[in-house]
Structure formats: C-alpha cells, structure tokens
Amino acid sequence: MKLEDATSYTARCFHGDPASCSYACPFRMDIRAFLEKAAAGRWLQAYKTLRNATVFPVVVSILCRQPCRAHCQRTLLGDEAIAVRDLEAASIRYAKNRKPESYVIPPKDKRIAVVGAGVAGLSCALHLAQKRFDVEVFEKEDRWGGALRNHPRFPEFDADISLQFSAVQAEFRFGSGVRSLDELAAFDAVYVATGAGGNSFGLLDSWEGDLFTTSAPGVFLGGALCGASPVEGIAQGVRASLAIEVFCQTGKASPAYGRSDENFCDRYLRHEGAVSSARVEASGPDGYSEEEAKAEAARCLQCDCDRCMANCEMLRSFRKNPHKIAVEVYNDMGVNPPFSVRTVTREAYSCNICGTCRSVCPVNVDIGALLQFSRVARTSAGIHPAALHDFWLREMDFASSEGSFASAGEGKARCDYAFYPGCQLGASEPEHVLRSCEFLRRRLDAGIILGCCGAPAYWAGDEARLRANTDRIRRDWNDLGKPALVFACATCEKVFGLFLPEIQRVSLYEVLAESDDIRPAGPFAAAAIFDPCAAKDDARMQLGVRNLAGKAGVALEELGEPNRCCGYGGHMRTANPRLFREITGNRARASEKPYIVYCANCREVFASEGKECVHILDMAFGLEPKTSVPSLEQKRANSLGVKREIMKKTTGVDFEPETHEWDDLDLVISEEMLEAMDRKLISAADLREAIWLAERSGRKFYDESDGMCVCSMVKPVITYWVQYRETAPKTYEIYRAYYHRMRFRGEEPSDG
C-alpha cells in the first residue's frame, strides 16, 4: 500500500483547512484561531497570531480594508460579519507584553539589499532579518515609512515599526538613494520597493507577480511600485522574503515549500442550528472594552467542517479526523512490533459502512470506503482479526452451500424473473420468503435463487471469498437464463449492484405496490419509515415501501436523518459491542412513533431494543408481526425449512439436510441462557457438537459432587466452552456457554 492509496480517499476533505475568511485575507491569517483566542480573552496569544501573520499589526489593524468580512459565514445567517479589525485593535490594546521575541539562530552568509523603507520594503527586510540574513535597507529619505509618513496616524505606525525591528539586526542607510543596481552588485539578492512611481531600474515590465521576480536574476520587485496598497505591500513583502530565501538557497526563484495559492473563500458550510446574533457595538470612544471584544469574537462560528464526525457515533467516539484516519490506515500496514503498533484497527472494524459520512460531507468523502479498503488490505496481508467476522462468514458459508437452491419454477428450465430473498429474510421469518415467492410466481412467473449475496465477506474485507460467492451466484443466474432478480433485501441489492452489475435488479416492494391483489394492512395508524442504510441510493425501493404503507392508510412520518444504519451494518458488533448498543439505542429513539421496516436485520435490531416495529411484508401479506428474534439455531432451521418447502414445490424432491452424529442430543436451555448465547453469537448447534465430542472422548472436566461437566471445542478461530449436566440419557442442561479467541501455545512447569 502506498500512502496515496489511503489518503486519496480523504484528499478532498477540508477539515482543518483555513476558513473562507482566511482565504480572502492578504496575509492568509488564521482568523478563526485569532478569534477563538480573543473570545477566550487570551489577548497575548491573539496578538501573536495577528503579528506573526501581518508583520506590522498596528499598521494593518488601522489600514486593512477587511476583505475577510465579505466571506464571513455569519452573513449567511443574515448577521453582520465579525468586526475583525476592531478586534485586532483590541488584541493590541489588551495584550500585556507586545515585545517581539528574539531567537538564537546562526547568521546566514547571504547579503540582501532592500531598496525603499516604506512598509512593503520593511516587511521584507524584517522577515529576512528575523532569519538572520545580512539585510541592508537603502532609503533616499531620512526616515522610514514611505508614503505613510503623511498619514495622520503615522506616529502609531512609526512606533509599531520600531517595536517590530527592536529584536532584529538590520542596517538602515537613510539618505542613500540607489541610482543603479550596479551599486548593489555585492548583494546576493535585491528587493526593490520604491513606492508608487518609484525607480524600478527598468525592470517593471518584466515583473512576475507570483514570485516578484524580474528579468534580472536575484532582483525582486513589490509594493506600491507594482500597484499594491500599503496592506497588500506588507503581505507582498512577506511572500517576497520567502521567494528570496528560496533563491538564496537554490539559485533560482520557486514557490516556498508548503505554500499554496489555492483560494477557497467561497467554501461555505451549512450552519445548522447556528443562532443569529447582532454585532457587539463598542460602548466607549476608544473601541471595545475587553468584555465587549470577547463577546464580539465569540460570534465567530469557528467555521471548520466536522460534519462526518458530528453525524457518526463511530467517528465521534474515536475523535480522529479523516486525514488522521487515512494516514493511520497506511501506517497500520507497515508496523514493526514491538517498536510500533497499529492504531486504527478498532475503528476499521467498528464502522457500519453505511455511507452516512459520505452523504453529509460537502465533498462526498467516504470514510466507510476508506475503512473498508483497510479491511481488504489487512485480510489480503493476513493481518486481520479473523474472530471479528468469523461467525458471519460461517453463516455465509452455510447459506451459500446447504442453504442454497435455484429453480426457474415448476417444470421450467429458464425464467425471466427470479426472486432473491437473501439469507436473512427467511432465517428471520420464513413466511416472508414463502409468501413473496408465491406472489412473484403468480405475478411474474418468477423462479427463485436462495443463497447469500456475499455481504459478510464484503464487510470482512475477504475479497477471495466474496469473489468465489459471486461466481457461484453468476453460475446459478446463467443456468436460469439470466433472469432479472427481484430483491427484498436492500443490502443484497446493493452488493449485487457493486459486484454483479450485469444482473438487472427489481425491488420486491415496487412489484407488490403495483399489484391490485396486495391489500396491505398495518397494525399502526401512524408510523415512521426506517429506511435501511443500504437503500440510501435506491429511490425505487424506498418509494415502493411508501406506496405499500400508504395503501394501508398509515400516516407516515419521515425520519429527520434518513438511511442511518440500525447498527447491524458492517458486522461491527463483535468488534465494538458498546458502540453497537449505543447506535441501536439511538436508532430506536429516532422517533417516538413505531417503525415500518423493510430489512430483516433492522427488524431484529429493533425487536431486541423493544421498539415497536413491523416489517412491510407483514403488512403486505396480512401477517401477525413478530416481536421476538429467533435463536441462531432456529434461524438455520428456518432457512432449511424455506428451502425444503420451495424445493418440494418446484422440483417435487424432498430436501434432506445434512445430518450429524450429535443431532439427536437434546439440550435444555433457559430463555435467559439462549439470549446470552445469541448475544455472544454462540449457537446451540456448536454446544451440541462440543458436548458430543467431550462425551465421546472423555476430554472434559467434571465435579463428582453433582456430575456437573465442562468442556471446550476448538474451532479454527474460536474456542467454545460449555458447562452442562446430563439430566437424562442424551439430554443435557446448559449452565454456561462462552468462548475465547486466544490459543494455549504450550504449558510450562508450575512455579510451585
């Protein structure tokens, strides 16, 4: 992986970039940071931000025309822009110690001549002197200030210039006009800022404004000589000093590293929830009091995009911005234990991959896609925590093998349409598949393909497994004559769109809504529709469900934040159970109204949360809504039951599920225990196998006082444990069921 492979996902993100006002500022001052410090009354820090950017803060605070205010995002709310210049004056007034810092830097052996001691020349001279260049300023008059000497507030400017030069060494040659550049042949570079109409030594026509260069190598022009205002001239002096520095180092003028001329002063954000506030007016003649200034600075909206972080529980909980995540995704591929460790694993596997970040981002940055990329890279490199997705991959293997089936219909070899219910719909509620299948047979003469779309492999980042599954589906689809597929599951439809785009996709709900035979009835008079995250870009599926619900006469509420993931997406619950519970709870509380859902996983999440909800297929077929969630073992049984019934109907063949030697063991499991097992993703079938193995091999522990036993079963990724007691022949009561991921590597002699 190259760094750009990861950072390309977040390249457009402008979190942390300057705000729109700063792009309009001639100095690119970080106005947002300045105002944040001012609002907190940290005047010295605010002043330093101002001074470091503007060189002569007093001059700028008096003369700046404030182009920033035209791009202040306060104005989007109808408010007046922040009074930046007045706050600059306040920071100068209230900063306790404005003495410039001096740093111990070794002197440089390059000599720079600055011609003209107006503010443009002075800002260049000051910057170069701060970097310990040997600077000489030539001025034909007997004092500095140039055209500003006639300004009524020149005494303040004069004091400001004196203050800023008080910590540096620079030679001033007043009364020394330069008639020819030949006089300056001993200097390594020359900056000419002789003011409006001043002497350009015949170089003005060859002036290049980007780097202030001329046809004479090493001679730079700027300031009013080139048409700049005093404030622009100061800003040019700073930029020219950087160009001169690069010239002295490399012998040619080129842009300073890290400097960008991009301009995004129209990059505005949506300021939802921001409250309008009027400009604070100064009560006294000398400008803002401290409290007034703090209040005015506090009106700054601190414009910085954090929409993805504000809208996603996962991003909020890890508190990392998109750029940092991208760099960590890259870094994590090249760690060198024990000297470095991975830092983004938990985030990568805690993401629902629901696309909310992309949909709220002004420039469509998709952090989910970045983290999905990380999962794929890790699995490919064999450095993925396999246990986090093991359960679902095993379920996928089951659904794609024993649970799979394809038929064009009774007595047919090919079909134009086939139903693709997905693995979860029938597992959760067999009637949803059986009724839909029968409806589609009547309506479209549709066949059926039972199986798994591959979402577990997709979410696990297991591309090889995903490809094998996709190939299997494509074979079944080809065998049926390439029918259009009718989807009940938005995730299946999305995965097919990504990996089997050649297959035409139709929404079951659309077909149901168009049928006069279907007369939906709802248990609720009013409900909110909970659209699954995978249906985000599927307007036809969303509309079909609304039409069905509308037919049932339900008053529909649209959720404020549509298509949020219920929590199931990305199979993140094993990686981050706490976050999973936070998300499911938040979604259940998104509306007080009961939910109409059309995803089996959403229904199960809300049933577990105790949220009143109904699947749209219950309404379409007049079924009693289920309020419970089947156990993991029951889900497999449901899937096989669906296959048995459909296989019998379409082919007349009795389906014989695989049998195991432990199938006839009876387990007695309390409701409470069953719930705990489901939460831990431990199936009763696993316990049955573990007990059978232990009883056959004798590899178990027992308590002779009451016959309690405990045993383990090591599977490729997980080790399962079960504590049980035989209550009758081949009947076992379950007391504990748990697992761990670590392996014993070997035993060492006991210390005792």
């Binding site: 938990r346 308590d703 405990v710 504990r736 991921r741 670590m742 014993f744 035993e747 002699p749 006991s750």
Partner: protein, 65 residues
C-alpha cells in the same frame, strides 16, 4: 453450589486440576497466565469469568496492536 467453589477433575486422568503457568497466543502475540490444568494430560480449563474478563481485555488489546 457456586461454580467458583467447584473442585474440577479431569475426566480422562481422574486428577484434580492444579494451577499452571500457561502461554497463550493470539494474532502473533503471546501472554503467560496461571490457569488450572490437569497435571496428567495438561488439558487447560478456562472459567467463564476469565474468558469474558481479563482474557477478553487482552484479546482486544492484541487485536488493536
């Protein structure tokens, strides 16, 4: 009977379990811990509290590294 008071015996060796230092490995990392094991066949016993407590914490730390 509370499970922590139980005296487990290995069904194969019919011997009471003893604490032993055992090395666990996960995702290329290793950690040693005192756990009960059969002194005969070495079969290790992990109680639920250990699996879902300290062991789970270490597993997460190792996954994060």
């Amino acid at each position: 009977m509370a499970d922590e008071d139980r005296i487990w015996k290995c069904a194969k060796c019919d011997r009471r379990l003893e604490k032993r230092k055992t090395v666990f490995s996960y995702l290329g990392h290793t950690v040693a811990h005192q756990v009960y094991a059969c002194p005969g066949c070495g079969n290790v016993f992990i109680p639920e509290e250990l699996a879902e407590g300290r062991m789970s914490e270490i597993e997460q730390q190792m996954e994060d590294k």
